[in-house]
Amino acid sequence: MKPKLRLILTGILFLLLGLTEFCVGPLWWGCNPPYLLCAVVVYAMFSGEKSAALFGLFSGLFADSMTSGVFGLHGVMYLFFGYMIVFLTEKIISGNVFSCTITGILTVALNEFALWGIENLDHPTDLLTAAQYVFLPRLVMSLPLLFLLYSLFSFLFRERDGYSAGRRFP
């Protein structure tokens, strides 16, 4: 697949995922799966530092523009996650669907914990309650989503093109 076509398809996918996350639902227990964050995680496993950081930044800014929270928060957080996953993929994580899923779950958990911390400043909420009614549904919904996105990105970044999870753009 040509790099430009891959880039366009990835951009369209991110846009669709983002619009689905913020315009459709909520699916279960009053929340949606974190489509964009999962996409950033999976994309980061197939790409380099610059691409992952940029996609994380733009995905996060898109999420900020679609929500009523503090503008810039998701941008900074997704940028950080995108970059860190590339870093970890080089050092520790191997490039397969299971490690991608575990990384994704941990990233979502970290993201939710950070959001809980920020919500706690205004409205203190018991961590256990938040874990049961917000963290858990989002984590459970992320599992099949990560599998699906990994398959999709495996197709977009095919082995024969010289890419695979864990081996990224030169």
Binding site: G25, D64, M66
Partner: protein, 279 residues
């Protein structure tokens, strides 16, 4: 990896992050919508509206095909219900006329409200489970201001918490940040709604500080009390699904199931002005 930190790209990235942190800090300090947030909202609002319109067309098409038989049965049941309700309306009209006559005889004045509305479509939903809010595609350009009350045909929805030129954010009364003065229709007891994370996940909220001797029962309807002047009196909030004592045993709490189905909300009415007229 190490070359990443040396390049111009890394410098630009750090500048962008510092810029965003500055934005976040300015919002945290000011506590209200900043011009940059408003600009983003103005630019993104048409995209949200367009996508939501497409989504609604697709879901309506598929649901009408898939649920044809079910809709046919439901239609017949609803026609029957309309006939029963028409009968009730006729009875109520008779009682209303009598009630008005008695009030006139006893010189009782009853406040009523006149409203000015703006209609708006729901274009974004709350996706993270923390806030019970959604976005609509109307703002200051349509006369909407922060704090305006939002209703729909089912009852009270919430109030406008952020507003831009062509967009607004509405927080429902399930949101932990929103409290509404509530009144039990059957007994007149007053309380206050309170959003909780565990109840919000089930689409419910709590009505607190009801009199401990209150004869509140499951199925009782709860309306806005109008106390405080923020919300007009008489807007339907929902029905009681559970009653429990407060931890200290001094008051009752009622779990409220809203009359409005927030998950399927497509259109709302924003009350831009309401005034109380004494009859």
């Amino acid at each position: 990896m190490k070359y990443f930190f040396r390049g111009r790209f890394f410098t630009v990235l750090v500048l962008i992050v510092c810029f965003l942190l500055g934005f976040m800090l300015s919002v945290a300090v000011n506590g209200h919508t900043m011009p940059h947030e408003e600009l983003v909202g103005v630019l993104v609002s048409p995209i949200r509206t367009g996508f939501t319109w497409c989504k609604n067309q697709v879901t309506d098409l598929f649901s009408s095909i898939a649920q044809y038989d079910e809709l046919k049965e439901k239609n017949a049941a609803l026609r029957e219900q309309i006939n029963d309700l028409q009968q009730q309306v006729n009875d109520l009209h008779y009682h209303k006329v009598q009630n008005d006559r008695y009030k006139e005889m006893l010189s009782i004045t009853d406040p009523s409200y006149s409203f000015e509305y703006v209609s708006a479509d729901v274009v974004t939903v709350s996706s993270d489970g923390w806030s019970g809010s959604f976005g609509i595609n109307a703002g200051t350009g349509a006369g909407i201001e922060k704090g305006d009350i939002v209703v729909c045909e089912g009852g009270l929805v919430g109030k406008v918490t952020e507003v831009g030129l062509n967009w607004s954010t509405v927080s429902t009364f399930l949101d932990p940040q929103i409290s509404v003065g509530a009144m039990l229709l059957s007994t007149g007891d007053v309380g206050v709604t309170e959003g909780r994370l565990d109840l919000k996940a089930k689409g419910q909220c709590l009505v607190r500080y009801l009199n401990k001797d209150s004869a509140v029962n499951r199925g009782d309807q709860i309306y806005t009390s109008g106390l405080g002047g923020v919300y007009p009196k008489g807007l339907l909030l929902g029905t009681v699904s559970e009653v429990q004592y407060e931890d200290n045993g001094l008051s009752l709490n009622a779990v409220l199931t809203p009359a409005v189905s927030f998950e399927s909300l497509k259109e709302v009415l924003v009350i831009t002005n309401f005034s109380e007229d004494a009859q």
